[in-house]
Symmetry: C2
């Protein structure tokens, strides 16, 4: 086939090549030009061009030469993860978490401010301010050092960072989280539903790293779902996907009630079930039965590679996971692999970090590369 | 950003450019080089190269010059849709349909052989042979003229064209449809679930042409679903997506029973409901209530842009569509647009044609372009 690529095609290719080189060098590895070329599949000449430009722009720097070997060692390059910072925030019913990470996603500092499910909007936003300020200050940073912020919240979120519907938190519907967080750090703010961010985190650093299609269950005082389809978070036409819990016959509305009945707090019920208490074990069975109904609907609809259970209850994996698998076997044509999240309650805030990093990487692709100071 | 594209990148770009030119010229339009360049966004030089090569390979030909205008008219080119043929087959409970189409997907000839839901495997396959043979013969073709075949069937299909599970048709589990149809036409055979093919047809030629995310309902003597996510048929990890009907609480297992009770055949019930029969109207309401439960689960999970109702019952749109919308409003956070299929019972076989055309186009992209005779 013939046909020279157009100018637009070439510029897009160059951006993709730049991103490929950055990806090859992320995660703290340092590589020689030869190694970069091998990792990216680019020609030696292309690799040299791309690396030269990324050095000039401050994305890469020369790494310390490794010891040993004969003669002068080849120059090595590394990604300047320290060149920028992103902020992740998780606004939950019981805690507000803030995290600062470098451009590799390595967490630099964290802060947590306890809240209650009953708190009103102003109090909860004030907790957000405290968590973010404390997190930045302890790290010796100001809001101006942040390149992008990711924010996770319960409820439905619109495309510009407002909560359009929250049934779990009082006075939360209508809050403009993007605008609020931008006051603290003026960089772009991305806001997303918490279950989805936890799903994102599982695909990035959790048990779903190799899954293309995945159903994530946020199992805790609320039940939510995040869907990853073909390697991407599935949001839906109006950003309202994963809301299967709204259908009463699928059991998620009543699921948690089984745990808050006789034996006090949910954690207590799991502990009592573990210790052999029969009433507690029966309550857990009823909870799992309802959790599995909605999950089966998602599994039958999508046939995912994996179901990952996260959220607060994932600490009680030992009493949850086998019964859940058995219930899924009852309803599903093919029960996928069921895994407990290893990220637990950190999942949402890590997903918020990933969301912010995606935004930074999009800017590399767009050519809207942030201007870096020289190392 | 810098970096020259590698050889592999360029060859991929050339294939994409070739496909872009073919797509611009499909559908019976003829264009000048200038117009092709404008449609594809390629440079004039690239366009000339690509068109020259596609002429040599027999994909394009020079079109008749259009009359009028001053001076010698610019040369026009068109896609040689007649250069090849694809076969589409729909194997249903009541009919086997076969269709021959050109490379634009224009149907050249059709054949239909009635079958019954009770027929065994041998008899049904024999009906497939008759439908395909009749369709090809009446069009003056042989199996060797077929470039690719698409086949639709009820049940779960594996990646190599075998039915791995069919509950609707007797002796159908385990049948190797790809091997069977290859005996009739030796080109590649793609086999897919019928609901999914009908979904594909809606996105191609039906009411979902502009929808990226769509839930298709096959509403008829069975209820099935096909999902289109981000413009692509969603198949699932083990090709088992869309099987929400297996979950009893979602109502699809019992849905049709409401229609086959008091008033005879389903079509009669819809007619009676239309004529004001109260028992029939109540039966239709119960059917719609169950249809809507499973549909709401899909809508809440995926938040699609559109729900399209096809299959045999789509002829009774007038008594189905408004009640379905009202039921969806009861359960869904956002009720998507609900549309009746305009393709009706032809949807599956048209989707089979599209599946075959996709395979032919993949071969253009791969560089495995079929060798064409000169026009």
């Amino acid at each position: 086939m013939a046909g020279e690529p157009s100018g637009g095609d070439l510029s897009r290719l160059r951006q993709l090549n730049s991103l490929a080189v950055i990806k090859a060098l992320q995660g703290g590895t340092s590589l020689t030009l030869t190694e970069v070329a091998k990792h990216t599949g680019l020609s030696r000449a292309s690799t040299e061009d791309v690396v030269r430009e990324l050095l000039q722009k401050g994305w890469l720097t020369e790494a310390e030469p490794t010891a040993g070997g004969v003669g002068r060692p080849a120059r090595r390059y590394r990604f300047r993860a320290e060149a920028g910072r992103v902020l992740g925030v998780d606004i939950g019913g019981h805690n507000v978490r803030a995290v600062v990470a470098d451009l590799d996603g390595a967490v630099q500092n964290t802060a947590r401010v306890p809240v209650t499910p009953e708190m009103g909007r102003a109090e909860r936003l004030e907790a957000v301010d405290r968590a973010v300020t404390e997190c930045l200050e302890t790290a010796g940073l100001t809001g101006g050092d942040v390149w992008a912020s990711g924010v996770g919240t319960t409820g439905l979120v619109d495309g510009v960072g407002r909560v359009v519907l929250s049934e779990a938190l009082p006075e939360w519907t209508g809050v403009d989280l993007a605008a609020h967080v931008r006051r603290l750090a003026p960089a772009p703010v991305l806001v997303e539903n918490d279950s989805r961010l936890a799903a994102l985190a599982e695909c990035w650093r959790g048990v779903a790293r190799y899954a293309k299609d995945m159903v994530f269950l946020l199992a805790g005082l609320r039940t939510g779902a995040g869907l990853v389809i073909d390697g991407k978070l599935h949001k839906g036409f109006a950003n309202a996907s994963g809301e299967i819990g709204a259908l009463p016959v699928l059991g998620w509305i009543r699921a948690q009630e089984h745990l808050s009945g006789a034996s006090g707090e949910a954690g207590d019920v799991f502990a009592a079930a573990r210790a052999g208490d029969r009433a507690a074990a029966a309550a857990v069975r009823r909870y799992v039965r309802d959790l599995a109904l909605g999950t089966s609907a998602l599994v039958l609809a999508l046939d995912p590679q994996m179901v990952v259970v996260g959220g607060g209850f994932s600490r009680s994996a030992d009493v949850l996971i086998d019964p859940l698998r058995r219930e899924l076997d009852r309803w599903c044509i093919r029960t996928p692999e069921v895994r407990m999240s290893a990220l637990g309650e950190e999942g949402v805030v890590l997903g918020a970090v990933r969301l912010a990093l995606d935004d930074v990487e999009d800017r590399v692709l767009d050519g809207r590369t942030p201007l870096l100071s020289q190392p």
